[in-house]
Subunit: 120 residues, 2 copies
């Protein structure tokens, strides 16, 4: 499958809306988070990441993120086994956004989620 933006139904021409068409789900940004925090990680390593994503969802998300070039395989033309994923420039550019989400949550979600980590 060599499609790219075809997989996405862009709701409008608004850039914010378009960003959410790609990242507006519960898993994509967590995958990016794991790759940014730990460096390259394999499929199985990503499966073990704290929150519990199921196998089919992870595979689907990884394919989408690869097709949109937010992440890539370390060895492009090797077989999947132990061929870790890493962020591209596009994915790495999301780091400030993830940091901002963390700060926002610590400030404004504290009263609703007392167990949340205070320092990252």
């Amino acid at each position: 499958m060599e499609d790219a933006g075809q997989g996405i139904d862009w709701r409008s021409v608004c850039p914010i809306s378009s960003a959410l068409d790609v990242l507006g789900d519960k898993w994509s940004l967590l995958i990016i988070r794991d790759l940014l925090m730990h460096g390259p990680r394999t499929y199985t390593q990503l499966l073990g990441s704290g929150e519990h994503i199921s196998t089919n969802i992870l595979a689907t998300r990884l394919n989408l993120l690869v097709s949109l070039k937010l992440i890539e395989r370390m060895v492009p033309d090797a077989k999947a086994r132990n061929n870790a994923f890493r962020v591209t420039e596009s994915g790495a550019a999301l780091r400030p956004i993830l940091d901002a989400f963390a700060g926002w949550a610590q400030t404004y979600l504290d009263e609703f989620h007392a167990d949340m980590l205070k320092i990252v």
Copy 2:
């Protein structure tokens, strides 16, 4: 319904994960965007916003965002008719994140979505 964080199943203690437990969907941040761009807006005005959210989804999201204090009604104890929603401090604090999403999309989604607005 006077619940708050009970409505949310927090997946982990990670602040990023927790932020996405609240905002990790296709509509919540778009509602915040509309309120930040246009100021207070009524239910019907929000319904008319470019992307087409359906009535039940909007009502559900508004209730969740109110319960988590990201938005509030202009006149707390008045009836719903013409009682617009506005962002609280919590919701307003998301403005830099939305701006960052816009910039990211314009830079990295351009090749997949040529019609996207270049300037906001």
